[in-house]
Symmetry: C2
Subunit: 412 residues, 2 copies
C-alpha cells in the first residue's frame, strides 16, 4: 500500500448527540499524530463549511481544549442538514468540493453523522473515484436514533438511552407522590425507530419505569392505547407511559400530526407536540390528573449523564476511521461488532461499505416488542444494558460543566 | 427543661424535590438515636396519613435503605396538598389528629414542606397549645421555589437550580449547532417567585446560557419580549430565553393562561403550556426556527444532578428540627443563616416562629433583576453559586440509580 500524504477534513452533520465530539476528538487526536496527515482541518457546519472553504486548523487548538471534546455535547464544529443532489443530476457542489480539496491537498475526508450524512459521504466518495482524485473517504457513525444499518449499535445512542432511563426513574418517583393518582406521558425522540423509546424499559426493569411503551415499529391505535392506560390506572392508581415521537396510525399518519382525529378534535399538535396532545386526549377520556413531558433536546445533549462506554466507543470510531484510512481503506463506514471476553461485553470496530449504509434504516426487531405492542421484551434490555455502563469523570468549574472552547482559527 | 418522652411523626407535604428525603432521613436518623423519642412514625401522604392513622414504623426499616433516602428524589413517604380549615371554623380534623397523637403517644411532630405545609404545621401547633396537649411541633423547610420567608434559602432549591443551569448549558450547545439559527425558549418552574428561572443565569455566567430571562417579579410585556428576542436573534443569529412559568401581564393575568392575546390568538395554552405558547408567538412574529422546552418535573426530581451542599443542608435541617425539639423548642421552623468561615460559604441553622413563616412568600429582590426586566444582576449569581457546589456520590446498580425501597410497615 502506497502512503498517501495530505491534509484531512473532519466534519459533523445531522442532529448532534452527547458524544459526537468524542468521535471528532478521536479523528483529530489520531490524525494529528499520524505522519501521513499533513494538516487536520475541521469543517464549519459539515459539508457546508467545505463548500464555503470555511475550515479550521485543528492543529492550532490547545490540546487540553481538544481533550475536553470528550465531554462536550453537541457538534463543536457546527452541523448542517444539507442534502446533496446526485452528481449526475447537478455536479456543481461536487466540483466545488474537489476545488477546495485540491486547494488544501485534502486526501482524507471523515464525515461524522447518521443516515443522511452517510449518503453525503457515499456520494462524495463515489464522485472522487469517478474523477480520479485520490481521497480516502470514511464515515464515522453517530445517531441517538441507533438506526444505522450494519452496525450493532451507533455512537450517541447509549448516552441518550441512559439519560432517558435515569430521567424516567426519577420522574417515576415524582409522578406517584400524591394519593390522588396521576397519569404521566413521556415523549421520546425517534421518528422511525423505537430504540430510544424502548430504552425507557430499562427504568421499568430496575423497578421505576413506564407501564406502557409505544414504538413506531407497530401501528398505534388510540382506542387500544386509551384502554391500556385506563386499565393500568384503575389497577395501580397511577400510570406512566413512554411514547416515541414517531408513533403513527395504521395508515401511516403520525399521531403528532393527526389534527382531526375523531378521538380528540383539538387540532393544535404543533403547540407542544405529541406528549401534550396525548395528555389532553387521556385527560378528556379519564378525567385523571395527566402530565405530558417531552424530553426534547435534553435527551440528546445530556452529557452529564453520558455512558462512559459510549464515550470511549465514540472516540474509538473516530480513531479507527483515521487508522484504517491511513492504512489504505476508503469508501467505508466504521461500525461496531459486539462480542464477549470472559463473559463480559466487548465492542470491536468493523468496516461497512458506504453504499450499503447510506439511507438504510435499522428498526427494532418485531420479536423484541411484545405481542400487544405496548412494551419491549427481555432481549431488548439485554441489548441496551451493556452500552450504558460507566460514569465519565466530568470536567467542572464551580460544579458546572466545563465544555471545550475551540479557537476555530481559519486554515490558510 | 423537662424531658418529654414519646413518639414522633414525620410527614411530607407539597411538591417534592430532589432532596426532600434527605431531610426526612435527617429527622428519622436523629430521632431513632434520641432516647427521648420512643417510636419514629412516618405519615403516609403527610397530614392525610395522620388523619387516616396510616403511619409507618420507621424503626423497622433497614438502616441501609434509610441511608439511601439521601439520594432518592421525591417524597418517599408520599405527599399531599391538603389545606386545613381554621380550627375555629371546623375542628373535626384537629380532633382527629389529637386522637391519633394520643393513641400513639405522639409528642413530636415534624412537618417537611413549603408555605402551605408551614401553615398546616402552624395550625396544628396552635391547636395543641390551645387544648393543652404537650407536643413539640417543628417545620422542616423544603421547596424548589425558594420562597419561604425568613430563611436565607430553602432545601431543594439549589439542586433544582443546578439542574436548570447544567441543562441550559447543554441545550445552549445544541441549540446553535446549525448555521441557520434558532430561538430556544425554556420554561422553568416558579409560579410567584423567580428564583429558579433566575438560576438559568448561572449558565450564562459560565459562558453558555440564556440571553434573556423573565421572572414573575416584573410585569411581562409581549411586545417588549418580542422586540428583545428579535434584536438578539438579529445580532447573534441565535437566541436563548428562559421564562418562569409564572410570568404575567401588568393586569396580573398569567401569560400561560392568556388565551385571547391579540399577538397570538391560539387559545390552547393548556396544550403544552407556556414554552409552546411563546414559541408559537415568536415563530409567527419572526419566522425563525423556534423550539420551546419545558423542564417540567425533571427539574425537581433530577437527583443525579443534586448539589451535595443542598443534600447535606437538607439533612441538617431535619436533624436540627429533632435536636431542638428534644431540647424543648416548639412552634418553630428550621431556617438557614448564611455566614462565612475563612472567606468561604458557611450555612448554619436558625429558628423562625411558625406564625411568621406560614403563608408569606419571599421574592427575588427587584434590585437583583436588571432594569429592563430581562435578566438578573451579579448579586443573584453570587447568592446562588455557593449553594449548588459539590457532587454527591450516587448509589447505582448497573449504572442506573439505586433509590431507597422502604418496607412501609404499619405501626401497631
Amino acid at each position: 500500500m502506497k502512503e498517501l500524504k495530505g491534509a484531512c477534513i473532519v466534519g459533523q452533520s445531522g442532529g448532534p448527540t452527547s458524544v459526537i465530539n468524542a468521535s471528532v476528538y478521536g479523528v483529530v487526536d489520531t490524525a494529528l499524530k499520524s505522519p501521513a496527515i499533513t494538516q487536520v482541518l475541521g469543517a464549519a457546519h459539515g459539508i457546508k463549511g467545505v463548500l464555503a472553504d470555511c475550515l479550521y486548523d485543528m492543529g492550532k487548538e490547545d490540546p487540553q481544549e481538544l481533550a475536553l471534546l470528550k465531554n462536550t455535547p453537541s457538534s463543536a464544529l457546527g452541523s448542517c442538514r444539507y442534502k446533496m443532489k446526485d452528481s449526475e443530476e447537478d455536479d456543481t457542489d461536487y466540483k466545488r468540493i474537489l476545488e477546495v480539496f485540491r486547494k488544501h491537498n485534502v486526501r482524507y475526508f471523515f464525515y461524522n453523522g447518521g443516515n443522511d450524512s452517510m449518503d453525503t459521504c457515499n456520494k462524495i466518495s463515489k464522485y472522487m473515484q469517478k474523477v480520479g482524485y485520490e481521497c480516502r473517504v470514511m464515515g464515522v457513525p453517530k445517531t441517538i436514533d441507533n438506526d444505522l444499518y450494519g452496525t450493532d449499535h451507533c455512537p450517541g445512542f447509549a448516552s441518550a438511552a441512559k439519560y432517558i432511563a435515569t430521567s424516567c426513574m426519577e420522574v417515576y418517583q415524582d409522578a406517584r407522590v400524591y394519593d390522588t393518582g396521576m397519569i404521566c406521558i413521556i415523549e421520546i425522540m425517534g421518528r422511525h425507530a423505537g430504540w430510544l423509546a424502548g430504552s425507557a424499559a430499562l427504568a421499568t426493569a430496575y423497578g421505576a419505569g413506564p407501564d406502557l411503551i409505544y414504538l413506531p415499529e407497530t401501528d398505534f391505535d388510540m382506542d387500544k392505547f386509551l384502554a391500556d392506560v385506563e386499565r393500568i390506572y384503575k389497577e395501580k392508581g397511577n400510570c406512566m407511559v413512554a411514547v416515541s415521537e414517531g408513533i403513527h396510525y395504521a395508515d401511516g399518519t403520525f399521531v403528532s400530526e393527526a389534527k382531526t382525529s375523531a378521538t380528540d378534535g383539538f387540532g393544535h399538535a404543533q403547540l407542544g407536540g405529541l406528549a401534550a396532545h396525548l395528555a389532553a386526549v387521556v385527560k378528556e377520556k379519564t378525567g385523571a390528573k395527566v402530565r405530558g413531558i417531552e424530553l426534547s433536546l435534553l435527551q440528546r445533549c445530556g452529557a452529564h449523564l453520558a455512558s462512559e462506554t459510549d464515550i470511549e466507543e465514540s472516540f474509538m470510531a473516530g480513531k479507527a476511521a483515521v487508522e484504517n484510512a491511513v492504512n489504505g481503506i476508503t469508501d467505508k463506514m466504521v461500525g461496531f461488532e459486539r462480542g464477549t471476553m470472559d463473559g463480559r461485553y466487548l465492542c470491536k470496530t468493523k468496516l461497512l461499505p458506504l453504499t450499503e449504509v447510506a439511507n438504510t434504516e435499522k428498526k427494532v426487531p418485531r420479536e423484541w416488542i411484545n405481542a400487544e405492542g405496548n412494551g419491549v421484551e427481555q432481549p431488548f434490555i439485554d441489548y441496551v444494558l451493556p452500552l450504558i455502563q460507566g460514569e465519565p469523570k466530568l470536567p467542572k468549574i464551580d460544579s458546572l460543566p466545563r465544555f471545550a472552547k475551540l479557537k476555530k482559527i481559519q486554515a490558510e
